[in-house]
């Protein structure tokens, strides 16, 4: 993105922002609450005024946005249903079932979202995003409501399925960023600027116990801590 400007009325979120997201890799965004991560993601998704959208994206918002009248399975297939492509829909259904099984909702396919717990809803939303099969994937705090173990499993799943795609992932957990991001950027300031790209070595998903990562982790925490909210 080049010279982007994000503002809500008087409130300027970003100005003259130029950022590069390497193709086929996962970039993790970190930053204090309210800095503008969601806004940046929405800009990339083409959801803000004046925001161009280059390629098809899959977008997972901070809230789950499941449709209450559709079953879990139908929610996951929403994109195919909306595009109305019957052939693709039929093909995607098998994929959706597998994904739902992988996020641990195999026995909840026909439930309505209101019957799920918060974390289950988030997992369904994650399955929907990954089911979309798009070159660019944008995810806003996809694992926020998940327990530590499920989170690790789903990080693995995401890393596997995001391979080869350009992904931008917002998170608040520096370890998570280090685990799944090829590149990590810390946003700070108001209007925000992006810090230098941090590129940990090794293939994703990395082992969080790796001492090299722990060093980077300390650096990231310090970087975040030094910032005004």
């Amino acid at each position: 993105m080049r010279d982007a400007r994000i503002a809500f009325g008087e409130r300027l979120v970003a100005r003259d922002l130029t950022l590069e997201f390497p193709a086929g890799r996962t970039t993790c965004l970190l930053g204090r609450s309210g800095v503008g991560k969601t806004s940046l993601l929405r800009w990339l998704a083409g959801l803000l005024p004046d925001a161009p959208r280059a390629q098809p994206v899959a977008y997972m918002a901070q809230s789950d946005l499941l449709l209450p009248w559709l079953s879990v399975l139908d929610n996951v297939l929403l994109g195919y249903r909306l595009r109305g492509d019957r052939v693709a829909l039929a093909a995607a259904e098998a994929r959706a079932r597998i994904l739902l099984a992988e996020v641990g909702l195999a026995d909840r396919l026909d439930d309505r979202p209101a019957q799920l717990s918060g974390g289950m809803r988030q997992r369904a939303a994650l399955a929907r995003t990954l089911c979309e099969d798009r070159p660019v994937v944008l995810m806003d705090e996809p694992f926020a409501h998940l327990d530590a173990v499920t989170r690790l499993e789903l990080q693995d799943l995401a890393a596997r399925l995001l391979a080869g795609r350009t992904a931008v992932l917002v998170t608040h957990d520096p370890l998570e960023a280090l685990r799944v991001g090829h590149q990590i950027r810390v946003l700070s300031g108001s209007p925000f600027i992006a810090g230098p790209a941090i590129e940990p070595v090794g293939v994703v998903p990395r082992d969080p116990a790796d001492p090299a990562l722990l060093g980077l982790h300390a650096r990231l925490v310090a970087e975040l801590r030094g910032l005004a909210p």
Binding site: A45, L78, R81, L82, R83
Partner: protein, 244 residues
């Protein structure tokens, strides 16, 4: 069971009203007299009621379909909305007496003109509530659909419409409640049958109890239609909230 209690409650309230206000019976007859007439003339009343009930139900269905379609068209196209919405509003302001001759010219004296009249009375609440519902879809869902490259048509039919169904149910309930008056107004358009016709005729002849017997039947039809619609709305639209 409930409807029966309700009916009895209504009758008691009415009897109390007559007693309390001392209205003469040729203006508001007491339920006891109306009941007698109701039983004595039940064959006549049933025949007229069948006629009016048909008008009501057909009018309601037509109104729901027309109103629903129009609301969807309005939500889909700003052009249509801009030009046709005022027309729709104006259609509500036109008293039947002004357009009755037109309707009769185009539709004749048969049931068609009555159904048209009833549908005209009914369809506005449906258009209005459904269109309002279609306007206030959760922004998040719309954004999501946009990232999914959904056509406006798909967004309308698969997201905005289901989200607006509770509002549609709300409109349908209003429509069901005004359906009886719609049918009666329709019978103004040159009727020679129906409860509304019977009522006018008996009022003119000073047969107030018969008129009120017809009115009671009309109200019962109205209640039945309302509760049927309410029940259908609950069964067909189990999710309630517009938002999350």
């Amino acid at each position: 069971m409930r409807p029966l209690i309700t009916a009895i409650g209504l009758l008691l309230g009415w009897e109390a009203l007559v007693w309390a206000t001392g209205v003469p019976s040729y203006i508001l007859p007491p339920p006891s007299r109306v009941l007698t007439v109701l039983i004595e003339r039940s064959d006549l009343l049933v025949a007229e009621a069948a006629w009016t009930a048909t008008e009501m139900v057909v009018g309601l269905l037509l109104g729901l379909v027309l109103g629903g379609t129009l609301a969807i068209v309005f939500a889909a196209s700003a052009g249509w909305r801009r030009w046709a919405l005022p027309l729709v509003i104006v259609s509500q302001a036109i008293p039947v007496i002004a357009i009755a001759p037109l309707l009769v010219m185009w539709l004749g004296y048969g049931m068609a003109s009555k159904v048209a009249m009833a549908a005209l009375v009914i369809f506005f609440p449906v258009v209005s509530t459904l269109y309002d519902g279609l306007r206030r879809t959760n922004e998040g869902w719309l954004d999501l659909a946009r990232t999914m490259d959904a056509s406006p048509r798909a967004v309308l039919l698969q997201i905005r419409l289901p989200a607006a169904l509770p509002a549609f149910a709300s409109g349908a309930r209003i429509a069901a409640a005004v359906a009886p008056i719609g049918a009666v107004i329709g019978e103004w358009v040159g009727a020679s049958a129906g409860l509304g016709y019977l009522m006018t005729l008996s009022l003119a002849r000073g047969q107030t109890p018969l008129a009120f017997a017809a009115l009671v039947v009309l109200c019962l039809l109205g209640l039945a239609l309302y509760y049927a619609t309410d029940w259908a709305a609950r069964v067909l639209v189990p999710w309630q909230s517009q938002g999350e």
